[in-house]
């Protein structure tokens, strides 16, 4: 474990002044997640596979991924660090300290999702030797190397392998080049689906904001130019989850302050997200939200709220003037 560099980490006291929208969202969205921890519980009995996984394992995997990233961007000893750690521990316990992943892998040895979800825990130092033993064998096959999947997902697989310490099954630059974002497409060809592709390319490429310097400079410049336009239209279309993901991308960009208009677009975005949040901190995936509609259920809110907690944490750290490179990386 490396020594966390905490000298410049943000604290409420050091920030001073009025709380930013991002700071408030980072706190209240994480509160919502904590209040809904039980809803992330896996059903009793055999792990739900296939279609059901979208409603059980997927939320739990996102919980692990995003609370790990939130913790990595939080000062040890802070409330945020503590909350994120508790949620990550809860998620790990839900997997029976990794035992679930062994079952999943035995059931579907050449599915990639067990490794992808496990990798978030492994990056946090939560590991299961039995799982890794089988994963190494599976991962050595030519079949694994040639699994057909969306290009952004391939990047995610490579990042998962890196986190677990497996040899890479491909070249990240080549994988990036095959993605929508990697081609620096005309920004007006952006649509909702492309939005999810591109945000996930950024997340996988930078290990969910832990290593922003891994983003090629040309890509950073491209994103800084066009994120404001995409964000504006996603906010207008009330796509809060994608807006949150784009705000996370903006917070990951190296040298974001040097790009004209990006900071204003980000500030506007956080003001809208803060406005849509309900009293408990929840954020619907789409639609007008609490001020205009009845409160939504867990499945309609968990993703947007988790993403907002993650993105707002990155933004909060950025606003406090802490360079992302100074954030402890992958520290358990």
């Amino acid at each position: 474990m490396s020594t966390p560099r905490t000298a410049h980490m943000v604290t409420e006291a050091s920030r001073g002044g009025r709380e930013s929208h991002a700071s408030r969202v980072s706190r209240s969205a994480l509160e919502w997640v904590r209040d809904h921890q039980d809803s992330f519980r896996l059903p009793d009995g055999e792990p739900a596979l296939d279609a059901d996984a979208n409603w059980t394992l997927k939320p739990l995997g996102e919980l692990a991924q995003l609370t790990f990233s939130i913790r990595a961007h939080s000062e040890p000893g802070s409330a945020r660090h503590g909350h994120a750690s508790e949620l990550l521990g809860f998620a790990w316990d839900q997997t029976r300290q990794g035992g679930l992943f062994v079952d999943l892998l035995r059931g579907e040895p050449f599915a990639t999702y067990p490794l992808e979800i496990y990798a978030a825990f492994a990056a946090a130092g939560l590991r299961h030797p039995g799982f890794e033993e089988l994963a190494v064998t599976v991962q050595r096959t030519r079949g694994w190397e040639r699994i057909e999947q969306e290009p952004n997902r391939r990047l995610g697989m490579l990042n998962s392998e890196r986190r677990v310490g497996l040899p890479p099954s491909g070249d990240p630059s080549a994988a990036l080049a095959r993605t929508w974002l990697g081609g620096l497409p005309e920004p007006w060809t952006f649509e909702r689906t492309a939005g999810y592709w591109l945000t996930h390319v950024v997340f996988h490429l930078t290990d969910w904001g832990n290593t922003p310097r891994l983003m090629p400079a040309e890509l950073g410049g491209y994103l800084a130019a066009w994120v404001p336009a995409w964000l504006d239209t996603c906010l207008e279309a009330e796509q809060w989850d994608l807006s949150g993901e784009l705000l996370a991308v903006a917070a990951i960009l190296p040298d974001a302050a040097s790009y004209t208009g990006l900071a204003d677009a980000v500030e506007t975005g956080w003001a809208r997200i803060a406005d849509i949040q309900d009293a408990a901190g929840g954020i619907p995936e789409t639609g007008l939200g609490r001020p205009h509609e009845p409160a939504r259920d867990f499945m309609h809110c968990y993703h947007s709220t988790l993403v907002a907690a993650f993105a707002a944490t990155l933004a909060d750290v950025r606003l406090a003037g802490v360079h992302p490179a100074a954030v402890q990386e992958g520290v358990a």
């Binding site: 007006w188 336009a229 207008e236 004209t260």
Partner: protein, 207 residues
């Protein structure tokens, strides 16, 4: 204009008003091809400019649209209509990029090669913002605004290459269908871009 048809209505307030509503783009083909319009057309245009001078309560865009007409006359060497200093454009400078693009699009008739108005200067100072506005307009399926923004982007430097303006203009024109206003701006933009590409090549040849 329409081969003197409007000219025969030279004293007709309706015809003059129609020319004023259409604005400087009535003579755009002459401006872009640097050919003098028919004298009758020019005369009607000039009468429209003189008849419908903006007043104290006119909106900024109306004032600028009128100024654009006087500037067009000046470019075409029509007498007694010197361009004078352009109106104030500081109201544009303060606008965020979505509103800036919207206003610029309304004033797209001012986007002509060599435009040196204060409005053109604001556009020239903010190429990335106008390009973002183009993207936003396409995303919102506001083809008219996209076409107007695209026309501005064809006359300013510093537009990010990744925008893909040429394909974008084609896309906007086709998605808009038979909208004449969209067609006007897109064709103007394409003409300007084709011409500046030719100029760039011949300048390179001389070098």
């Amino acid at each position: 204009m329409v081969g003197g048809t409007v000219g025969t209505l030279a004293d007709d307030q309706l015809g003059l008003a129609a020319v004023r509503v259409l604005g400087a783009d009535v003579l755009l083909p002459s401006v872009l091809t640097r050919r003098r319009p028919l004298p009758d057309d020019l005369a009607v245009f000039q009468r429209a400019v003189l008849t419908f001078a903006p007043g104290a309560t006119s909106s900024e865009t109306t004032v600028w649209s009128h100024w654009g007409m006087t500037q067009t006359l000046h470019r075409l060497d029509a007498p007694a209509t010197g361009p004078g200093a352009g109106p104030d454009a500081s109201w544009l400078e303060a606008l965020e990029w979505p509103k800036l693009t919207h206003q610029l699009s309304i004033l797209a008739a001012l986007a002509v090669p060599g435009a040196d108005s204060a409005v053109a200067q604001v556009a020239a100072d903010r190429p990335v913002d106008v390009a973002r506005g183009f993207v936003r307009a396409v995303r919102r399926r506001d083809w008219l605004q996209a076409a107007g923004a695209g026309r501005w982007l064809s006359v300013i430097d510093g537009v990010p290459e990744t925008l893909g303006l040429d394909t974008g203009l084609e896309f906007v024109a086709q998605m808009a269908g038979a909208d004449a206003r969209v067609g006007l701006h897109v064709h103007a933009a394409q003409h300007i871009r084709a011409e500046s590409a030719v100029n760039a090549v011949s300048a390179g040849g001389r070098g």
